[in-house]
Subunit: 216 residues, 2 copies
């Protein structure tokens, strides 16, 4: 992680305050655009003075970096939680549960996803790489789940890479295409339909019926 300047020696406090800054900043940026907010405006939204804000960050662009890094670490934490909770489950249950937790996480942090999506082309290549690595890690998580199921005969022999990629695209779509999707779906319904579609693609024919996939 890049070192972001602070004048405080209390690491726990800095961390707590920064997480608060990250959350409020992401909301504000998604609402108004990064270039349209000033550090003064951000400080006001945080109930801080501009000087107080600069106690925790060195510059406005540090906020971008903190948000991107937060989103990437979040992904890692979420995947570790999946892997731990699901290590003894069957491939199909692992996939279903992972999809649910993943979609919930994206929903909860949708401002961050929108922010990263929005800011991508303004990032330096080094910072883009942080985002790429985080996304690649999720794709690989689902890809290896799918490949385990294919090897064990629980799933059909699909192109695991593209199915995993579509899962990530569908989750991102929930974050950044909410303007359309929320007219017709809530998170539960959207997740259920996507899970149904993914299982329809990958469930081995003889295992499809017990999952309620045969027609609707």
């Amino acid at each position: 992680m890049r070192k972001v300047r602070t004048f405080s020696n209390d690491a726990a406090l800095v961390n707590e305050r920064r997480n608060h800054i990250i959350k409020i900043a992401a909301e504000l940026i998604v609402k108004k655009g990064y270039n349209n907010i000033s550090t003064r405006e951000l400080a006001t939204a945080l109930g801080m003075s501009t000087g107080g804000l600069y106690h925790y960050i060195g510059s406005k662009s540090d906020i971008l970096y903190l948000i991107i890094n937060f989103t990437a670490e979040l992904t890692g934490q979420t995947l570790d939680r999946f892997a731990d909770e699901l290590k003894d489950a069957q491939p199909l249950d692992q996939l279903k549960e992972s999809l649910k937790v993943y979609f919930e996480t994206v929903d909860y942090y949708r401002d961050f996803h929108n922010f990263v999506n929005h800011i991508m082309l303004s990032l330096t290549l080094r910072d883009r790489r942080i985002v790429y690595q985080a996304e690649s890690r999720i794709i690989q998580f689902f890809e290896s789940l799918l490949n385990s199921g294919i090897e064990s005969g629980d799933f059909r022999n699909v192109d695991a890479k593209i199915v995993a990629h579509n899962i990530v695209a569908a989750a991102n779509a929930w974050a950044n295409r909410g303007w359309y999707l929320k007219k017709y779906y809530n998170l539960d319904k959207y997740t259920d339909e996507q899970v149904r579609l993914v299982l329809g693609q990958i469930a081995a024919p003889d295992k499809a019926a017990p999952l309620g996939l045969s027609g609707r």
Copy 2:
């Protein structure tokens, strides 16, 4: 369409020059970010003087509007072409061919898609609505294709809205996640796999085999 100021009376020439401006501007913006380019830099890339550029546009933000509007009109034209060419085909062939042409179009105009994606949160609500309408129109096109196939019994009774939405998300992913996808796929292979996955989701069981969908 909003009126963009010009000093020229030759409508055809203005249109031709603007299309050129749009193409070069979209490329440059995707490469460097909208806020990082000046009109002077854009003029240089176009082989024009800054004054020459202002002959065709009134301000830098007009370029945003022109690109967004171009992308929206393009969508309309593409869909009209689909509808005309495919009007006598079977639902499954209509869907396959539409998917191919749609993915090709997104690939060809990927700079525009990336641009719109990038700039979305910086747009006014009125301009966002242009993008929303264009995207909704594509989703509705595929949704109604799917619904016709469901009614005729050619397709399974899936949630046409979400399948249509996933098609648009998969096409957008090709434009804005090229950094990942192009390591593993070219356009043809990506399109083939996505077509296979969509057909796997919607093909009625007794019609699946002749399409080469039974295993790989």
